[in-house]
């Protein structure tokens, strides 16, 4: 049987190559369709990142977040020293779950979550568990760190 004629091999190979390229293409298209159908599985990044960022003005003893660093915020961003917070601040005077920044659709609010050393908005202390408004440009004092609210 003339099975393994070189020309047949090349012919088969040519079509195999074409098939492979189109297989890749089809998988890519399927992945795109799957993504569109479920509106991204799990977290939806765009809606989770709210219009606002904080800029580190003073980093205290935090070795990672140096002054000038800009951090993105999500509509509910917990700040603290614990690693499962949204914004990890490692200054020694920051509690594990220090405060939470909330976006209510039109403005930012900060809520102290029962921290040891308190939270201040533009030098005025925040009562525990009472959300305080954070206007754009306001300075948040968390432990020894100072963060500036940057909107837009």
């Amino acid at each position: 049987m003339e099975l393994f004629n070189l020309n047949t091999l090349l012919f088969a190979g040519k079509w195999a190559f074409i098939g492979l390229v189109y297989l890749i293409l089809i998988i890519v298209i399927v992945a795109v369709r799957r993504e569109m159908a479920s509106h991204t599985p799990g977290r939806q990044p765009a809606e989770q990142i709210a219009p606002g960022r904080v800029r580190i003005l003073s980093s205290g003893s935090d070795p990672v977040n140096l002054p000038g660093t800009m951090l993105n915020l999500m509509p509910h961003s917990r700040m603290g020293a614990a690693v499962d917070t949204d914004i990890v601040l490692s200054d020694q005077y920051v509690s594990a779950y220090h405060a939470r920044l909330n976006w209510d659709g039109s403005a930012w609010w900060v809520e102290d979550l029962g921290s040891a050393n308190g939270t201040k908005v533009n030098e005025s202390p925040c009562p525990r568990h009472v959300p305080q408004p954070v206007p754009p440009g306001a300075r948040l004092t968390i432990g020894d760190m100072v963060l500036e609210m940057v909107v837009g």
Partner: protein, 451 residues
Amino acid sequence: MTEAFLLILVCFSAVLGFVLLSIGSQTAQGSSPWTGLPLALIPPLLIGVSAFSVHGILRWRRVQAEQLILPIVFLLLTIGLLMIWRLRGPGGVWQQVFRGLVPGLAAMYFLILRPGLVERIRRWAVPIAIFGLLLPIATAFFGEVDETGARLALKLGPLPPVQPSELIKLSLVIFLAWYIDREGRKAEGRAHPFLGWLRLPSLHYFIPGILFVALAALALVEMSDFGAVPILALIFIGMLFAGFETRIFLAVGLIGLVLTILVGITLAFTWDIPTVIQMRYQAFLDPWSQEMVMLNGQPSGVTISEGPGYQIQQAIYAIIAGGLSGTGLGFGSPQYVPLAHSDFIFASIVEELGAVIGLAVLFLFSILLLRIARVAMLLPSSQPFERLLMIGICIHFFVQVVIMVSGTLNLLPMTGVTIPFLSLGGMALFVNLAEIGLVLSVVQRLERQIP
């Protein structure tokens, strides 16, 4: 892991492709089919190692949001390297690898591992723009003259020649992204009504961009790199178009277009239209015409068919020869098309791999562009620079692919630019990979805060 799976498929296709190429070209020459096979396995190895190295870094940074861009880029790269091996032999591939792939990979590593670089780039936008402008200007005066009389490259001492053409497009994207980010909102605020429903920003908003494009265009024309000029203009218009968030973007785009055309006409009156452009235009109209090529109104000694039309003819013959599934790697004659390795590489791809692969390449590019645009749209509006950067890169790739493919098919007069990832060109590949690196770097912002 979609990305890993797709990359494995890409590696398979690379191995299969190069094996077929080696066997095919040896058979077509009449020598033993298995000669040179081990050598031909090196490029797939390189592709696999590069692809998985970047993949590894992306895994390490836990990038989940975008898994399709990397396989698409490496598949395109594979097809490009296949054709370059076919046209220029191993030497061409090593050139691509060492002058394009390796620096490009280094750029990608840097950009992905240090996403803060994008912020740094934003702050250094103006020096980057100036550097991007200086290179073509320097090349226009001191560049090496190549065989077509153009000065395309700059030789700095012992280093290999550097082609600034691709770099200036990236500089324009970065500069415009920074500028629109900074000034766009102020310009929108100060826009005044025009014709009742249009609100136009004051004209001096456009000046830095126009200045940049004009200076770059002058330098490029002096370098005889005419293809890059419409690309710069279209990037400029496209980014202005994209940079506005209200309805006035249409008016802004039109203003940009009108101003660009005015500048173009002015330049055309002050200088004679260069010979090359005249020839290409006439070749475009009818490549088989037996009429004399008219230069500046004077007939030259050569017919269109013999002269500038020859290139397009050969490209069209190549595409016809390819048919649906191609002649098979090694069995076509892509070398008969002048500049087959750069300008007309698409014709070579269609000749040997077939129209189906040609179509697949176009699909791949479309998806790549859509993914980059998707990254741009998913970014929050609090990061306009990154969004504009993504859109700019998207426009850059789009315009280049469209112009190149149209030129190959004689839908537009051919201009001498490169198809991203496919054409031979170290600097171009480096810049294109760096742009992908920028995209992958910005993708990380979709998932978590970047300090």
